[in-house]
């Protein structure tokens, strides 16, 4: 029942349902790439504190757009600093965002590596079906930086709007190679083969988290932020998923 009410509130249907009641729970807006890890961290957090967590997962820019349009939430975690900066610029963030994880790009190929790819320098081959993210989304911006730094001109057959679409095309063999995050590669397991890119770890995507100005439950909200940054179990969950510690 509690869950239903909180869900309705997250959907903006019952904005007042969980106001003025600190032990009712908190709402966390988090980047799509954090889906699995945050569900797990949320469970641990609830076990420790008794505070229920409701998540909304979406692309970082979409989350910021929802917040700008009045969606109620206590905490925001994005997959890049640009979107967190945009949220801060709109006065949505309370205090300073803190970095809690890094994610870096790797090359994935379908199992068996039909295109015989072994590194970034192989991806300039026109006959190879390479899929990357469009530069408008965080993973695409990272792809541009890394290929420019390596001096490799990738000629993609498709530039997807999300990293999961890139992974999807590699997974089902529609592409010979793709650039995705290390966490995505890990999640795909045996369905893909993973190749590290020289220099990618030195130029990662940074994941910031922050309490929101509009938080209904700022106390538990800040606790959740601290839990993600400092709790040992949370750190382990992030590490197991392929995220690295921010430097």
């Amino acid at each position: 029942m509690k869950r239903t009410i909180a869900l309705a509130a997250a959907g903006g249907l019952a904005l007042t349902a969980c106001a003025d009641n600190d032990d009712e729970g908190i709402t966390v807006f988090a980047a799509a790439s954090l889906h699995e890890v945050f569900e797990e961290i949320g469970e641990r957090y609830t076990e420790e504190t008794g505070v229920e967590v409701e998540f909304t997962f979406a692309g970082s820019s979409g989350l910021v757009e929802q917040l700008e349009n009045g969606a109620p939430a206590d905490v925001l975690a994005t997959a890049d600093e640009a979107n967190m900066d945009a949220a801060a610029g709109s006065g949505l963030v309370s205090g300073d965002p803190e970095l809690f994880a890094e994610n870096y790009l790797v090359i994935v190929t379908p199992a068996g590596n039909p295109g015989q790819v072994s590194g970034l320098e192989d991806l300039d081959d026109e006959d190879l079906q390479v899929v990357i993210c469009a530069e408008q989304v965080p993973c695409g911006a990272a792809t541009q930086r890394i290929s420019a730094a390596a001096g490799v001109q990738i000629s993609p057959v498709s530039e997807e709007t999300s990293v999961t679409d890139v992974l999807g095309r590699v997974r089902n063999g529609e592409a010979d190679a793709g650039l995705v995050y290390a966490t995505d590669a890990l999640q795909a397991g045996d369905e893909v083969e993973t190749f590290e890119i020289d220099g990618a770890q030195e130029d990662p995507n940074l994941y910031p988290i922050a309490l929101l100005e509009s938080a209904d439950a700022p106390g538990p909200g800040q606790e959740f932020v601290d839990f993600v940054i400092g709790d040992e179990q949370a750190r382990q969950i992030l590490e197991d998923a392929g995220f690295t510690e921010p430097r």
Binding site: G59, S61, E65, Q129, V131, A134, Q136, V137, P156, V157, S158, E159, E160, T161, D165, N172, G173, E174
Partner: protein
């Protein structure tokens, strides 16, 4: 239709209220989006290379898809309209599937059929045809979702043709192809035009199937709706401007086509 029958069939006055609300449901959000438009930047946003590439691609692929729908859909509508075999109802329901399927499901269906790992991958490779990541895939996705609109529209029109006229022509010894060419097609003209317009409009707005199947590359597979979705990530103003462009093109096509069919019919 005489003035008398028109006043007899006129609905009661109260329907005006829900009718206005109905129009509001459609027009209000479009108006709301217009308020987000930055008119000063509009020309620059619409003439960027990526916008122009998307517009050009959308227009020619939607046009090709419409031609494909006409060439294949009209015969299909004729067969369905005159078919007497058992199972025609089931066949018709199956052919209208794209109307009820979420487009992304259509995209997956196309992917598992025409994709490089799909059912026909061997045959396509043998013929040296690559479909995935090409504009052919865009046209296929569009035709898949648009064909039913044309088929329904034309079939309904064909069923409305008085069989006695055609019978008389047959008795007079006219060839079936001649009857189709000189009697049926002119009689179903308005249905044909509205079907083609619907198919073009649906092709122009196609998003899900293209995204799931064709790919996303400027000038090749990134049509206007995909460009809008992408621009939304970094530049909402550009997304709104492109949406306006899409609306303008759709209204233009619909009004030209309907205007012409009204005069013609």
């Amino acid at each position: 239709m005489s003035a008398a029958t028109r006043s007899l069939s006129r609905p009661p006055a109260w329907v005006l209220i829900p009718a206005l609300l109905g129009a509001t449901v459609i027009l209000l959000p479009v108006t709301g989006m217009m308020t987000r438009l930055s008119w000063a930047e509009l020309p620059a946003l619409l003439t960027s290379p990526s916008s122009l590439a998307a517009l050009r691609l959308s227009l020619w692929t939607a046009g090709t898809s419409t031609v494909l729908c006409l060439v294949l859909g009209v015969p299909l509508a004729l067969v369905l309209a005159y078919a007497r075999f058992r199972g025609v109802t089931v066949l018709r329901s199956l052919l209208l599937l794209p109307l009820v399927l979420p487009p992304v499901v259509g995209g997956l269906a196309l992917l598992y059929t025409f994709g490089s790992q799909g059912m026909l991958s061997g045959a396509l490779e043998f013929l040296g045809i690559r479909v995935a990541y090409t504009s052919i895939a865009v046209v296929l996705a569009m035709a898949f979702v648009s064909m039913p609109f044309l088929v329904i529209s034309v079939e309904t029109a064909v069923r409305g043709v008085d069989p006695e006229i055609l019978e008389a022509a047959t008795v007079d010894g006219a060839h079936r192809t001649a009857i189709l060419r000189y009697m049926v097609l002119p009689l179903v003209g308005p249905g044909l035009v509205s079907g083609a317009v619907l198919a073009f409009a649906r092709s122009l707005g196609e998003f899900g199937a293209t995204l799931a199947f064709a790919g996303n590359r400027q000038g090749v597979t990134r049509t206007l709706p995909l460009e809008i979705y992408l621009q939304r990530e970094t530049d909402p103003d550009a997304a709104v401007a492109l949406s306006l462009l899409l609306i303008a093109v759709a209204i233009l096509v619909i009004s030209i086509a309907y205007g012409r069919s009204q005069r013609g019919g």
